[in-house]
């Protein structure tokens, strides 16, 4: 199997998951697609030398997301773009509230929340993906959760349990 074929298989298999992560990071479809494409394109030169592709692509994804927000390339989309029918028991308005809350987090805080609580990465894996210390991940997560508690009041309740049990 050539590198190109291997790459094509990876895109076919994992682009959906990457798009979901990117959507949480960017808040809209266009930026999510751009982010995933950019991450995949940037991964091409090293593709043949990588043992595990997904962690590398995800690392590019989150770092590109943080730097793009810093450059002001992406901004929160004010109009909700909910295409799917709302899940029974889950209100469209709640999605909008959560998406706006994520958009109000600092880029790195948002990346920490998405990696830890959506992609189920450990603190160490999150730190590795972002290129920061584990202590930074902890503090960013703590600050982000505090901010989310304020922005999304209906998330309150029982104390948060780490998805990986840490």
């Amino acid at each position: 199997v050539s590198d190109a074929d291997d790459f094509a298989e990876f895109v076919a298999a994992r682009s959906g998951a990457l798009l979901r992560t990117a959507y949480l990071l960017t808040g809209n479809h266009q930026d999510a697609e751009d982010l995933v494409q950019t991450a995949l394109v940037k991964a091409v030169p090293k593709w043949g030398r990588l043992r595990e592709h997904e962690p590398y692509v995800r690392r590019i994804l989150v770092n590109e997301s943080v730097s793009s927000w810093r450059r002001g390339r992406w901004r929160e989309t004010p109009v909700p773009e909910v295409r799917d029918e709302p899940t029974p028991g889950y209100d469209v308005e709640q999605k909008v509230v959560l998406r706006r809350a994520l958009a109000q987090l600092a880029p790195r805080q948002r990346a920490v929340i998405v990696l830890r609580y959506f992609d189920d990465l450990t603190e160490a894996q999150t730190a590795d993906a972002l290129g920061v210390a584990v202590g930074t991940v902890k503090s960013q997560a703590r600050d982000a959760l505090t901010r989310l508690r304020t922005l999304v009041p209906d998330l309150d309740g029982e104390p948060m349990v780490s998805p990986t049990g840490e």
Partner: protein
Amino acid sequence: VTTQLPERLRELAGDAPPALSARDLWQTGRRRHRLRVAAALGTAACLVMVTALLGNGAWRSHQPSPAAPPATTSGPMAIPQPLFNPSPWLSGTSSPGRLVALLGSTRDHLPVDSEKNALVGVTAGSQAYHFLDLPGRARDATDAALSPDGLHLAYWVDGPGTDGTSIGQGAVTGVAVLDLVSGAVERHVVLTQHGLAAGTLSWVDPSTVAMTAAPIISRGAGAEMGPLRGYELNLGVTNAYSRVGGQVREVPVTSTLGFAAMVGAHRLRMWNRLDASYLDLRLSEPIRGGAYDGRRHLLAAVAGNPDHSGRTSQALVVGRAVHGRVHLTSIPGARTYANVLTWVDRDHVATVRQTRNGLVYDVVDVRTGARRELTHKPWYAFTVARDALRQATTVPGIEPPHPWNPRWVVGGTLVVLILVGGAVLLLVRRSSRVGR
């Protein structure tokens, strides 16, 4: 925050686009990688090229011309014809070796400082040009005199007065003599409270400097100056000077007999340094400057008589001293000159004249007025060592290097780097627009 967060994030992620719309990501990635490599190689090549250019320019600017002969410290000195205006970025030294010529110029220093009255020495033989670093040089009296043999340079120095306080602006405290071969400096300070107003500096012989200066008696609103007097300083006797002249006039006259100066409009006085006696010659007309040959009792000078319009004729005149009188007559065919510098032989004098483009040094036949150009240089003033004038031989001038202005080099490098960086950024950004 509750345990609902992962669930809520999954629900929100369900709104993500289902699949990528772009194709050819692999080809785009390869193309972009090739572009990046090409841009990196291009940037590196540009940097190497700029560095090589700068290095080559700097190296070449500090290398003597391959045609340059070695410097000389003795023997005859040939005059470079022509002399060149030096770059303001030449290197400086206190020991350039024996000088054949001394040039005035402006010297630039980084970042923005410049020295308007800097001096450049042209080394005998090699014709290397260097700025002269003159320790203690007075800020406001920038005249300097090159010894006849080109081995020493006399210049004005300043410092505190006898009471330890600063002397006034424009004042000097004496003269320093720089050994141009070793870089050693002799200071000769005239002890005064308020300093001296500098007059002229000249060399009587290769070991004696003559200067005229007026003591400053008081400073401030009622500033008062004493009369202009003549002094001699002897090399090898540090801080020794003797007052040889009474009231003198600032007219540049050289004499083989010793310190010479005009006293009044028509009297040329030459002091005997052994007993401070003097010889007076009464001139038939005022002069602007000249050279007296004591062995043959001949004075060659530039006339200083004003014509009907009030301007001096500046004609070349010559006369023999007879019974203390010199009757000066115009040299036929001779034109306008600024000064006579020295006798070259029994029939020729070295002169300097001002033209529209700068100074020209000539050898003039005092019998016919015929002249031969020795050297010239545009713009700034210059002097040639008297021994070289007496030999009156010339060699083709070698143009000094012109180091690049470092400000332009730094600015140009920055511009190049910014342009290269901008181009690279543009390429990378263009290549990163995938499938849009």
